[in-house]
């Protein structure tokens, strides 16, 4: 039943009503009769943040390609809308048919990062569903979660019935088929879960029990007799065999990314030791240039987009990047289509690419040296030297750019004052390079923005055992930088260290952290990724109320022999490799990129029966 009449009545009272309407171009409005499966895909943040998410767009198109499946979308209503929905008893609905989420068979969330977890709880509650999985029954939709957060699903286990670990392009059909069959057989919830546990990559938390040691660490994680002892991340072995999604939804409102974005490859083998994405999307699998270009051509036809973006974790590393950009810029010459390339490397090659595509508009450029000293850059395996940075920015200034953003992290393991001073000095040298290269009005417009984010160690990385800095340490370091990064051409930006500490505690949390998440939501936490909405005091209280210490999860160094709460989730990368990488870090040894420097023996190819695919 459509809730549109009720929804429409309150739209006058909220800002940006476009968030809650439908009929965006390429949205699918259809119905199934009889034995179809109804899927609601949920992004736990507001519409303009959630809509561009590539994973959900892929699933939406795949699911709707089947006649027996309807997939619709839902996002977290903004605070004003939530208030009127609660006041008027309007349950959370999907956009396409304005149907209550309770009418769906499957409700799937994507867990993109830890600070959207409370929104998952809030959306379940707004839907009128019990927030706790244990309280849901056969009449409720199956609540599924996917996305990078599933590599440590434990903190969300109290709320989610089924986790899908890894890439879902193939798995999703196995799951839908099973649900369809079970629905036909009127299977009970427990039977459904047991059956789904047989699908590789599916994790059913209720089939695993966790025991703890007296010191609070995990003693063991035990699987039920018919559940696999570990869950192996699913991947699409040949990414190029999967067609480029052709009909992305075009939002009416201004979304965070509103452009034709085509994934040119999955995975990154650069091996930055702090980076979780660099581990959990391995191996590197490219699309062919032909596939990328024809995909873009089709998307532009179905969307009318005026901007193209080649997306991946490191698009300058895509082996056909030059040819692709050249072909695209020739094809769309004079048609007012702009090209963009996210995630640049700090080198002349990347700059050359940008120079090609930014023929007229030279807005800002962002580079990520990540750390201020060579010692620290070697420690994190970021293969960039100060010379690389200065040469690249000088070239950029010569080409006419006047605004440079430098991205650093503070709180990396083993960081000393010298490393912080390194951030200051490198930033100042970039300013000096700008002043020496630019002249006249351009010189006076020179701006170097330094972004310093507070590092949170993540599961399945070489730094998964280290202690995160405490809030006090982070704030002292921010103060150090603020006192020194001054000057007409310099500006310093950072994220709230408080949210990094909460993020850090959840990221490496165990099942009990779910209690703190529940409590935080109960205390009113939501939209934690929004600076204005984030409430540190409530989070502190939530941990305290549930008898947990955030510092146990965030600020504690783990021993290599400790059973990590996520040890039953296998990304394919061996724990031994992660340990070895940690040792190499401490010895200042670099590890090469396996695409060019030989196999680094991370284990992912043999474990997942896959390989790098480079054209």
């Amino acid at each position: 039943m459509s809730l549109w009449p009720q929804v429409e009545r309150v739209l006058r009272r909220v800002e940006k009503p476009t968030r809650y309407i439908n009929s965006e171009l390429n949205s699918v409005h259809k119905t199934v009769t009889g034995e179809g499966v109804l899927v609601a895909l949920a992004y736990p943040d507001v519409y303009e943040v959630g809509l561009p998410n590539m994973g959900l767009q892929i699933l939406y198109e795949l699911l709707n390609s089947r006649e027996d499946v309807v997939a619709e979308r839902t996002y977290a209503p903004w605070l004003d809308m939530e208030a009127v929905m609660r006041e008027q008893s309007i349950p959370l609905f999907t956009l396409e048919s304005h149907t209550a989420l309770t009418d769906f068979d499957i409700l799937g969330f994507t867990l993109q990062h830890e600070l959207i977890y409370t929104n998952v709880l809030n959306m379940l509650d707004l839907a009128g569903l019990p927030v706790l999985a244990a309280e849901r029954g056969d009449e409720h939709p199956l609540v599924i979660a996917g996305g990078p957060g599933t590599v440590n699903p434990e903190p969300m286990t109290p709320f989610i019935d089924v986790f899908v670990v890894g890439e879902a392009e193939e798995l999703i059909f196995e799951l839908v088929d099973a649900v369809k069959e079970l629905k036909r057989a009127h299977a009970g919830r427990e039977e459904v879960l047991r059956r789904l546990a047989r699908i590789p990559g599916v994790y059913i938390p209720t089939l695993y029990s966790v025991e703890y040691n007296d010191d609070g660490t995990v003693a063991k994680i035990e699987a039920a007799p018919d559940a696999p002892s570990s869950i192996i991340r699913r991947i699409v072995k040949d990414f190029s065999a999967i067609p480029v999604p052709q009909r992305p939804i075009v939002p009416f409102m201004d979304a965070v990314h509103d452009r034709c974005s085509v994934e040119v490859m999955r995975g990154c083998a650069r091996g930055c030791r702090f980076c979780q994405a660099g581990i959990i999307y391995r191996p590197v699998r490219e699309r062919t240039q032909e596939q990328v270009v024809s995909g873009i051509t089709q998307i532009l036809e179905t969307t009318g987009y005026e901007e193209i973006s080649l997306s991946s974790l490191s698009s300058a590393d895509y082996s056909a990047v030059e040819g692709t950009l050249k072909e695209l810029s020739e094809r769309y010459d004079g048609q007012n289509v702009s090209l963009s390339l996210p995630s640049l490397r700090v080198d002349a090659f990347s700059l050359g690419l940008v120079k090609e595509i930014a023929k007229v508009k030279k807005t800002g450029l962002t580079f990520a040296p990540e750390a201020g000293t060579q010692r620290m850059r070697d420690f994190i395996n970021k293969n960039v030297t100060e010379k690389d940075v200065l040469n690249t920015v000088t070239l950029a200034f010569q080409e006419g750019w006047q605004r440079i953003k430098l991205y650093f992290m503070i709180g990396l393991p083993t960081e000393t004052e010298e490393d912080l001073q390194g951030i200051v000095e490198l930033s100042q040298k970039v300013v000096e390079a700008g002043l020496a290269t630019l002249s006249g009005a351009a010189k006076s417009r020179l701006t170097v923005t330094v972004s310093a984010s507070a590092f949170a160690p993540k599961p399945h990385t070489p730094f998964q055992w280290v202690a995160q800095d405490t809030l006090e340490e982070f704030e002292a370091k921010q103060g150090y930088l603020a006192a020194r990064l001054k000057g007409r051409h310099l500006s310093l930006k950072w994220h709230n260290a408080k949210s990094s500490v909460v993020e850090g505690a959840i990221a490496r949390g165990d099942r009990r952290v779910g209690d703190a998440i529940y409590r935080a939501w109960f205390l009113g936490c939501k939209f934690d990724a929004w600076t204005k909405e984030f409430n540190y005091e409530s989070w502190r209280q939530a941990f305290a109320d549930t008898g947990l210490e955030g510092s146990f999860y965030a600020g504690r160094e783990r021993g290599f022999d400790e059973v990590l709460p996520w040890s039953h989730i296998e990304t394919g990368v061996d724990a031994e490799f992660l340990k070895e990488e940690f040792y190499r870090a401490t010895r200042g040894e670099k590890t090469g990129d396996c695409r060019f420097d030989g196999c680094s023996d991370c284990g992912v190819c043999p474990n997942l029966d896959a390989e790098n695919i480079i054209f």
Partner: protein, 241 residues
Amino acid sequence: MAKLLLHYGKDGPLKYLSHLELIRAFERSFRRAGIEVEASGGFNPRPKISYGPALPVGTSSRSEYLVAEVKSTLCDDDIIERISRVLPKGLGVFRAKYIAEKQSSIASVIECVAYKVEVKTLASAGELSSLVEILRNEERLLIKHKGKEKWVDSKESILDWNIEEAGGGRHVFLMLLAAGERNSVRPEVLIDKLNQSYPHVQDIEVVGIERVAEYVNRDIPLIDIYDFYKNVTIGSECEKS
């Protein structure tokens, strides 16, 4: 280059699009339809499309116009067909024609607008009629809108009106209101005015507003804006795609 006048409508959920969102939707629709639009110069080239007065968010309309400077010389039927095929549901093109290059902008020539306003109230049609009549008989009205105040001449502002019962406590107001520089007033502001001026009467709740026509004059016979722009033949003959 040719100037194309497009008469379109906006309804359903899409009536909640803001003016900027509507503009982007049209720009992308022209691209999808393969109708090339001239671009402005400068660092940030923009498609040369001009629009009529912005429709308030939540108001539907069957009387919206835009002028696009197009490179194509497709026949108007073809243009309608091509763009209708790619427009999102809720936007629809009714008519299109090529017009002379030098023309006053849509926004500058509109003098009055006809609206259909559906309201819900416990008051009867007769009561509503007499209320409007009292308002009209006041010489001047103080109009408050978005924190601004202005005085308008009542009879010059509310040009004509009619009320029909629609059943279930609903009434349909048809109103012809002045637009442009002098004495302009919006329908929702007028309903607010009724509510404020007669607090003893039952609340009048707006259910929906639709813009139904736009004219370039305020006297009988009214001249529809579409007819005001004379069509021209482009080049020798238009192309059939």
